[in-house]
Structure formats: C-alpha cells, structure tokens
C-alpha cells in the first residue's frame, strides 16, 4: 500500500483552507501531540504547520500563470528522514505513512535537514519533530462515516484539488487521475520516490488586451533586432 495525496495545481486556488483544516484537526490529535503556536496574537505570529501553501508566477506577463502550491509530507518510498533518524522515532508504516513517534524523538533536526521538501518542522514547545500524519487518526476511524475517512485537507478543499487514496493500486481513483493528467513527483532526481503526485497546471488561454499585444510585439521585434544593432 502507498497511501498518499494527488494535488491538482490547475484547480488549486490557494485559499489555504487545507492548511487551516489540517491545523485544526491535528492541533488536538494524539498522534501529532499538539501543533504549537508562538505569539499567535503577537507582533510576530509563528508556529508549526504540516501543510503550507506558497504562490508562484510562471512565465512572464502577459503570458504568465499563477500557480498555488500546497506542500505537505510526500510520504516518500525512500524516505531519508527515516534512515537518518538515530533514535528510531521516525518510521514508515506498512501502508506507506511516515510518522514520528513523539515519545522517542530527541529533537536533533537531522530528519528536517534530510528532507528536501520542508515537510518537517520542529515544535519548540514539545522539543520534538512534527509532520503530516495523513490524518492516520481519521482515515481508519470506523466511528466516522466512510466518506469522512479522509484527511482533513482533502475533505475541506473547496475546489476538489486534493484527492486521497492508494497510489499502489492502479485501479484507484488517485492512480487513474494521476495517469490521465501526467501527475509527477517533486525533484525525482534526488531519489526519494515521493508518493504524493502533483497534477501539472494546464496551458492558460491568454486573453490579450491591445496594449499587451503591442508590448509583446515590441518585445519580440526588439529581441530580433538587438543582435543586428549590436553588430
């Protein structure tokens, strides 16, 4: 089993609901043992989050696109954060979920150094490492209705940009969607074999104003002409 997420970069609107819902669920979770906030109402609010959404611009205006990029643990198959851990606090379960045993962690930060994706954050209040649990305390909870046995970030997403499932099973919804849309893992060359997939943004259909078209034409002409002028 390889439980994980498929995240659609084309439909994500960057509302941070996934990050907030994650914080809400896990702040009172027994598995992650609180997610501390530092100065939540002060001048410099900060704290531990499992999920962070960043925003990028790809291309150059007017041929550009904003990409909202949520990132949480990718539950890698070759997770270096697990192998570098000296205490055995970091471990990977049979179902693929990477977890930190809060009772064993000594807070050395080495696993955070070994993760290229910034998925792990040290909780200064407990002195232990925190990370996405894939809501392991939701997805197996038989007290919940079957449709609710999903990570909090997936349930809350207003644009359905997040899917949860078993990426080891080629017939699962996550595997099919990832296959159809060319889902990719981040920074494959590092060899971590991340399980989470990202669906690439689609080519935007650019709507050009007259001024934009004029500016583009000028820029194109200038780039053609400049080598001649320089010569």
């Amino acid at each position: 089993m390889k439980l994980g997420l498929v995240i659609d970069l084309d439909t994500c609107v960057g509302c941070h609901a996934c990050a907030t819902a994650c914080k809400e669920w896990n702040a009172s979770s027994k598995v992650s043992n609180a997610l501390s906030d530092y100065q939540p109402f002060g001048a410099e609010p900060s704290g531990v989050w499992f999920n962070r959404v960043r925003h990028y611009e790809v291309g150059e205006y007017p041929l550009s696109k904003t990409i909202n990029f949520p990132m949480s643990c990718l539950h890698c198959e070759d997770a270096d954060c697990v192998s570098v851990c000296p205490t055995g606090a970091s471990y990977k379960r049979e179902d693929g979920i990477v977890l930190v045993d809060q009772d064993k962690c000594m807070g050395c930060n080495l696993c955070a150094w070994a993760c290229p994706y910034g998925a792990r954050e040290l909780d200064e209040a407990t002195g232990t490492m925190k990370k996405c649990t894939l809501c392991v305390d939701r997805i197996y909870d038989t007290m919940l209705a079957p449709e609710d046995r999903q990570p909090a970030c997936v349930l809350v997403c207003p644009t359905h940009a997040r899917l949860f499932g078993d990426l080891d099973d080629p017939a699962s919804e996550v595997s099919r969607v990832s296959e159809e849309r060319g889902g990719f893992g981040l920074l494959a060359e590092l060899g971590y074999r991340p399980v989470n997939r990202y669906l690439p943004p689609r080519q935007p259909k650019t709507v050009l104003s007259d001024d934009d078209a004029r500016a583009l034409l000028d820029r194109g002409l200038a780039s053609l002409a400049s080598p001649l002028i320089r010569r």
Binding site: H55, Y56, A114, P116, G118, G182, L187, Y198
Partner: protein
C-alpha cells in the same frame, strides 16, 4: 543552513580531540621513543576532555535531550547513531590507554589499546563527517570533499595540540615537519572544497532551480506548452518566520564570506604553519599557535554551515541552490 554555535563548537572540539588521540596513538605505535610517557597520557587526557566537551555541546543542540540516550538505536542506518556508538566506545578504550601510558606500561596491551584508540577515533571522525555528506538536499555538503576535509581538519588541529604539548612537557616536538605537511594538505583540500562549491565548481552546474522544484522546468504541460518557463515566488504564505526559514533561511553576505574565509585561512592554517615551520620551539608560542588554529577552524566550521544552501530554499523563492 543556520550555523548553530553548539554544533560548530562540537565539530571543532571533538574533531581536535579525536585527531589528537589518533595521531598520539599512531606515534606511540610506530615511534615509541618519540613521545615521552608524560606527554602521552596528558595528551590522551586532553583529547578525551575535548571530545567530552564537544559531545556535551552537541547535547545542548537537542530540543529534547531527555531522549538523547535513544540515539544508539539505529546504528544500521543512521550516521548520527554510528557517531554516538563509536564515541561512547572511545571513552573506556582511550581511558585505559591513557592509564597504561601514565603507568609507563609497555608491551602488547598498550599497543592493542593504542591501535584501538586510533581506529575508534577515526570511526567517530568519519561518522561525524558522513552525517553532513549523506544529506542529499544540501549540495554543498554532499560531496567527497566533506569527509576528506573534516578528517584532515581534525588531524591538523590534533597535530597542533600534540606539538604544543610535546614542546611544553618534553621540550621539543618530534615530527613537526610532518605536521606542517599535514597542515598544507588540509589547507589544499579546504581550498579545493571552496572551489568545488563555488560558481565554477562541478556542483553549480547541477544545482536545482526553483522551476525544477515546482515541476515547471520543461514548461507547463497541457494542450501545448508554455515556452517561457521562468518562475518566481509571489507569496510565501506565512506572515512571519517559520521553523523552515529559521533553520534553512540563513543568508551570508558575500563580503562577510570573503573576510571569514580569509580569517579561517590565516588563523586556522598560515599562522600555526609558521610556528611549525620555524622549528616548533617555545611551548608558549605552541599553545598560542594551537589556540589560533582552533579559532580559525571555528570560523571554517561556521562557514561550512553558513555557505550550505538547503533545497527547501527553492520553495521559499531562491532561484537556485
């Protein structure tokens, strides 16, 4: 990477202690008459004290030191665990060796413990260096220069301490030219390391970019491709710093790097080399040279962290590592 002083001090202090123990044991094994017993046991004690001080400092770095004893648990996969196991093994072995030397004992047991001290000290040094060299997300660390550099620096600071002790307690330092040669090689490897992580080094060409990190380096897929695939950060999503920006966001100004590199070369290598090449006379000068060398290596280790750029910085907007 944030240069945490506890780790900088740990790597320099332990490195010097381990280098001192390894060289001392080697000299005692292969040239038993070169060092007097009163030098040997005192130097072994100093080496152990430096390693203990370093380890104590490294425990200060832990956010939850109550679980530090668990660090022995993953010897088979974790270099940090291996370092802990070898360091723990070093203390009884080197202590017995120091006791044998203090009692002016000779024979096969002293040789055995000298050899064991040397091998275990090497194992600790190598494990420490591999903690850094095994981290794939930090290209400035993931190179063969990292362990080579650290092993040589440990031995270089060790040879300075050993020469200073020999000058103080026996009046003269044997092998001081060999020591100087070691210093020159260590300096050469340090310069090679700096070249390799620099703009003209091999690593810079393979450095991942922001576009690669968010998967748009080959343009945007879909019906047709977006040709201009340059990306930039619009918003990082948090209003104040996070653990990630604290730990990995450290930025070193280029001119500060130049000054510190200069200080590391002059204090860490050139001044102590001058004392050794001048004949390693006057023990007071020797102590000064050893202290000066260690100051320089503190600057060198600080830079080792400050100049390393973690891959997660790409997601925070760095164009490349």
């Amino acid at each position: 990477m944030k240069p945490a002083f506890s780790i900088v001090f740990f790597t320099v202090s332990s490195g010097a202690g381990l280098g001192l123990l390894a060289l001392l044991a080697l000299a005692d094994l292969f040239a038993p008459d070169a060092l007097a017993d009163r030098v040997v046991w005192r130097a072994a004690l100093l080496g152990l004290l430096l390693v203990a001080a370093g380890l104590a400092s490294s425990v200060l770095h832990l956010a939850n030191p109550r679980n530090a004893w668990r660090a022995f648990a993953r010897f088979r996969s974790s270099w940090l665990s291996r370092e802990a196991v070898f360091a723990a093994a070093l203390f009884p072995i080197a202590a017995i060796y120091a006791a044998l030397a203090a009692g002016a004992a000779g024979g096969v047991w002293r040789d055995f413990f000298a050899l064991a001290t040397c091998l275990v000290a090497w194992a600790v040094l190598f494990s420490t260096s591999m903690i850094y060299a095994s981290l794939k997300p930090i290209r400035q660390w993931r190179t063969t220069w990292t362990p080579l550099n650290y092993l040589l620096l440990g031995h270089w600071s060790g040879v300075l301490l050993l020469a200073a002790m020999a000058a103080a307690y026996a009046g003269s330092a044997p092998f001081f030219l060999l020591g100087a040669l070691l210093g020159l090689v260590a300096l050469g490897v340090k310069l090679a390391y700096w070249y390799s992580i620099g703009e003209r080094g091999a690593g810079a060409k393979r450095a991942p970019t922001l576009e690669r990190a968010i998967g748009v380096d080959a343009g945007v897929h879909g019906p047709g491709t977006m040709t201009a695939a340059r990306a930039r950060l619009l918003d990082v999503g948090h209003s104040h710093g996070t653990f990630l920006t604290d730990e990995f966001g450290f930025v070193l100004a280029r001119r500060h790097a130049k000054v510190l590199r200069g200080a590391a070369i002059v204090l860490g290598f050139l001044l102590p080399l001058a004392w050794l090449l001048a004949g390693a006379a006057h023990w007071q000068l020797g102590v000064a040279a050893a202290c000066c060398g260690i100051m320089g290596l503190l600057a060198e280790r600080w830079l080792f962290f400050a100049e390393a750029r973690h891959t997660v910085r790409l997601y925070h907007g760095d164009p490349r590592t």
